[in-house]
Chain length 726, copies 2
């Protein structure tokens, strides 16, 4: 049943990994600079590795426990496919690996970027961007490799009556490996997010506000922890996160394709389509990455244009590639419409993010202006603006979902399976150029760290100016990247809800329910459509079980955010006390005679993050199971829909409020409204500090939460079918 | 078709109004104190009246426009019942009247309370509490009177084939008068909320933080505006709000009862049940109010116990009364189960509110403690705690809805109409003792204003201590009141969604759709059940129209909050600048030689509130119509469910964060963590300021938003049926 076109997928994966290795090797050839630079870089590297080791230990225990549970469920009461526990495990390992490699690269690259920036801005850009590209390529390469290997493996082992049923079985089994990736990603995002923000808040509050020294001043005891945090939160966390998004989108779409095109000639082609689009996206991303190359001495404007050109070129070409894929696979050309809709939705969300968070526009400047009346009005205005900023992304997603659905379903609302396949395809389209968008995202923290290194190594203002320029460059492109990440989470979330129903179908067959009584009709379980299942389980909005699920889903997003916010608050408080203690007890820190105890700060952040990340993450796993056991399938679907709706909006609100506060502060620091050191500056620093956990801990974790809850529901569908209270 | 039992309802309404008038007259007999006290009270009274006049002008224009639209829809394309425009108008007038009377009473009562507190704490309590009771009784009295009159009027004029159909027609028509009340309530809450918080933030920030004088110091130019704000926001706004909740719950339940018991002997009894429970609740509230009477010289503990005793007695007795009602009306005794569930849910939410917002417990103390590391950690911790605090209320509501549904439906999930009638009955049960719970709520601002008056009239510390004690007493009982208000909003919101479907049925008949094709079945429109409609419109969670609605509904809550937050921010900024200007330009304010220009501050708040309240309020009306015109019925139900889920959770988060910040500040002011004037105190003042619009503007407005969107959907059901794009 393997089509020759399939082999394009692993080939592209290998190409991506090859280039990643090439870029990595080239980066290592660069000099790391003088002894101070090397020493600082190794401080950060060691801190980051120590943290990651500790984190993987905790995560390993969680994975082991869950694996045993899954294995028991598969071999004991036979509530699960026997591949699930293994798929879960590999998903976790690959997701962790993607984060690990990205972070390892980043910690090697920062001093080298700073050193290259001593020569020229362009050299700095090249080192930082190519290092970011390592992560982008590793994520997409590992993901496609993993998907291909799984496909080959299951194709060999799964035995089923017909080829069509086999395809459905394989794709839904593969989906469960997404849960491993999601779980790993959630731990990485939450743990990394708590680490980085505790360090950041500590460094900001005592360093900037109380002691009056810059963030990256070597006299600030929390500064190394802050730099470590950028790596473990923004790099390792983001890598695991996007690995999960990417896999989730491809796998969910493949599963929906298998179900929607059941028993047709093009079933296998529909499964292959998302993989092929992703594979072509890898090549086009590489093409885009190579386009980011400017002549020596180019202005910053030109650099930005070069970066933009790379992303835009890949985006435009992917539209052409999607027509090719659809043509090769004999699918309807309307499906390309869904892909284009996906790309456009991502771009609209990205532009809206930029408008609401960049200090080139009115909203962020208004937040800065409200600093004239103190920190309280900065916070009120930031929250208000963040909440309002949810309007455009939601309208974009609603329009995108409706259009992607209509294009794929042949403009027929009743054609639910095909329509939702279109929604999945839109998500894949949005994420297809992840190789390059992630590169521009990941190079931000590298540039940030390079700046830190330059500051601490006293490389002079010119170098610092260049690294700052690199950082600023990253912020602009990162807005688009964020738009794609959050938009794809919403679309993938929808596709996963539909996949859940497909999984329920398989689970029902496994527990021996071969027919369903729907009203006065009797339907064979395997022949039942999505709409049949909706009626069978009465997943309508007048069923109190569905409403209960919606309430709990909305609440879960808030409680999860609250838990992570408070975790950052607690860890940051400890950090503040430690930094204050060091200033008080270690003589000579402020005069620069004595080196502060950096390691102690790293340790505090590590402990804080480890202790705090377990409960919210386990809650995200436990709640879908609990709702399933109490309210059954209808409750679970309600939970997922409620969580998706409220979670998506809350995630945008938190990310945008945080981003706007950050840039309002930068706006004041650029000399507006009194500039650095003014009362207005102090007020915006408080706003920025409040925004830190918003944008880097709670907000991004919500993206994963939405999908993890769906994944958990999918994996435990068998339990829900067999046992539920109401 | 009128049952003699019906006459109990208007009788109880008249009794309530009579006692309200009696309490008011007795209060007026009290002395208003010395000349200064009178002068200050008249300042506040005039400011409040000026504001309300201005507000009613704006609202009148809006009502006029909407009325014309409704009249056109009724007499032109015949998309509506011809009573709707008139019902809408009267709903608005009565709701406004309830707020107006409450506010008028409060402004007369504050100086009198301060004067009575000069004699004793107990006298102060009596004046303040009885004045609060005026508002409680006026709200329930007017509501029941209004409902009775409407019933009699429609019973006389409506002509329908059968008595059963007539009852359905009457109850659904009456429901539309809820939209008038909701619209009026939203304007009152939003306008009043913006007014009061702009004044409060201005008074706090410049007065407390910058000039270092107390909130109620006569030297603070914003202090009169602040006191006016308590009256227009907390009294007039709350009165209109709860009038709307009360009517909404009774009317929605009556409409559901008419539909659920269609063509049965007890149909009329099922309609009467919510009205009778409310009527008995009035009498029991009166009983409770009279129980709040202590001997001279009682301690504060005893006063609190007296207050609690009043509320508890009415709550327990209402359970007994509900058994009587059910017995008299020949309904199933299980319905009493729904009522008890409603009461318990309200109590659990109230207790949870108290736990998370009172500084007697850990969460609020932790927020205060985080002030040691500055304002940023106070804000982070407050937001985190508020988000976590949504868990218990949501679990309570989910459990409550499920149980109330099961009790009323005879433990049969398929029996949707009856089950939802039970949910409505639970809401009525929760609100039945509104007469007394609202009295304890409304007396809070009266005591607060009395304190302000005492401070400005320099009545001495002892009097101020007593008014503070009265205020604190109110805060404790207010937590329970808030629990009931928000819990009933969720339950009523659910009942209204069900009523929307009933309205759709009538609209379909009106546009000539006499049969529905559902799958392979053909059903007469008038005979179709709620479940039939769910299938006919495919209101399942896999329909992209429903999902679009859920996304937009979630977004609406956030955007609405954001708009009101920003409105407060803008108005407060203007206030801060004005207060700073007065301190700068008017010589002798700080030494007390010159009186500041209070009127200018009142004017600024008034203008700010009027200008800012229109857009968010109109948005709340326009969005349900727009979603209906684009996505049809399925989209509207999705919108309402998404708005209910996210809005409920967001409302609790905002109310609790705000409350906790307020009490964290009070905790520090009581001498903990450094006490007044310390850095920790300044940090908690910033937290409190952020919390002001959370708890008094955006949070409470969400309660109304949830219901107003449902009401708009109900009133425009005819348009949605006749015209929609997709």
């Amino acid at each position: 049943m393997l089509n020759t076109l399939f082999w394009i997928v692993p080939c592209c994966a290998v190409i991506a990994l090859l280039f990643a290795w090439l870029f990595f090797r080239n980066m290592l050839k660069e000099s790391e600079g003088d002894e101070t630079m090397k020493r600082i870089a190794s401080h950060v590297r060691r801190g980051a590795m120590a943290y990651l080791k500790q984190q993987y230990k905790v995560v390993a225990i969680v994975f082991l426990v869950i694996c045993c549970l899954f294995a028991w469920m598969a071999y004991g009461p036979r509530l699960q496919n026997e591949w699930v526990w293994f798929a879960f495990l590999t998903g976790g390992i690959f997701s962790g690996l993607a984060g690990f490699i990205g972070m390892r690269t980043a910690t090697y690259a920062s001093a080298r970027t700073a050193n290259a920036a001593r020569r020229s801005l362009n050299d700095g850009l090249k080192v930082a961007f190519r290092s970011g590209a390592v992560m982008g390529l590793v994520v997409v390469g590992l993901a496609l490799l993993d998907i291909s290997l799984w496909w080959l493996l299951l194709d060999h082992f799964v035995e089923e009556a017909s080829a069509s049923e086999k395809a459905i079985m394989i794709t839904t089994t593969m989906l469960t490996f997404g849960m491993g990736a999601s779980t790993q990603a959630l731990f990485a995002r939450v743990g990394g997010g708590i680490f980085t923000k505790a360090a950041d808040v500590g460094a900001d509050l005592v360093g900037k506000v109380e002691a009056g020294i810059p963030e990256d001043d070597p006299r600030n005891p929390a500064t190394i922890a802050d730099n470590v945090g950028d790596n473990v939160g923004d790099v390792a966390g983001m890598g695991a996160d996007l690995y999960e998004s990417y896999c989730g989108a491809v796998l969910a779409t493949a599963a929906l394709g298998a179900a929607a095109f059941r028993s047709t000639d093009v079933q296998f082609n529909a499964i292959l389509a998302p993989m092929l689009i992703a594979a072509f996206g890898v090549i086009l991303s590489l093409f885009g990455i190579f386009m980011v190359r400017t002549k020596e001495g180019a202005s910053q404007q030109k650099l930005l244009r070069a970066l933009d050109k790379g992303i835009n070129a890949s985006s435009v070409l992917i539209i052409g590639a999607s027509f090719l894929v659809v043509h090769l696979l004999d699918l309807s050309y309307w499906i390309c419409g869904s892909i284009i809709v996906g790309l456009l939705t991502g771009i609209v969300i990205g532009k809206a993010t930029e408008y609401y968070t960049s200090h080139g526009y009115k909203p962020t400047r208004d937040i800065a202006k409200s600093a004239e009346t103190g920190p309280a009005t900065v916070v009120i205005k930031g929250i208000g603006t963040g909440m309002i900023s949810t309007a455009i992304p939601v309208i974009a997603i609603v329009t995108g979902v409706t259009l992607a659905f209509l294009f794929a379903s042949g403009f027929e609302f009743g054609n639910v399976s095909m329509g939702l396949y279109g929604v999945g395809i839109a998500a894949v389209g949005m994420l297809s150029t992840l190789g390059i968008t992630l590169a521009t995202d990941a190079y931000g923290p590298i540039a940030d760290n390079a700046g830190g290194n330059a500051e601490m190594s006293k490389l002079g203002k010119e170098v610092r100016r260049r690294t700052d320029a690199l950082d600023a460059l990253g912020n602009t492109t990162a807005a688009t990247g964020k738009g794609f990440a959050i938009g794809s989470a919403a679309l993938t979330g929808l596709a996963l809800i539909a996949s859940y129903i497909e999984e329920i179908k398989i689970a029902l067959v496994r527990v021996g329910t071969s027919t369903l009584e729907i009203g006065e009709r009797t339907v064979n379980t395997v022949d039942a459509t999505l709409t049949d299942f909706m009626q069978y389980y009465d997943v309508t909005l007048m069923n109190p079980k569905v409403l209960a699920g919606i309430f709990v889903g909305s609440m879960m997003s808030f409680v999860f955010c609250g838990l992570t916010m408070n975790a950052v608050g607690r860890a940051a408080q400890k950090m503040v006390q430690e930094v204050r203690r060091q200033f008080r007890e270690i003589k000579g820190i402020m005069s620069g005679e004595t080196e502060p105890d950096y390691a102690r700060c790293v340790e505090i952040s590590t402990k804080g993050a480890q202790g705090e990340m377990v409960f919210p993450s386990l809650l995200a796993i436990a709640v879908p199971v609990a709702i399933g056991l109490i309210f059954g399938v209808a409750g679970v679907v309600g939970l997922l829909a409620g969580g998706l709706g409220a979670g998506f909006v809350l995630a945008i609100f938190m990310a945008n409020s945080g981003g706007a506060w950050d840039n309002a502060k930068k706006y004041v620091e650029e000399g507006n409204l009194g500039g650095k050191g003014s009362e207005a500056h102090k007020s915006t620093v408080i706003g920025d500090t409040v925004g830190d956990p918003f944008k880097d801990t709670s907000g991004p974790s919500l993206n994963i939460l939405i999908k993890l809850m769906s994944m958990v529901a999918i994996v435990t569908a068998g339990v829900t079918c067999a046992h539920h209270l109401l």
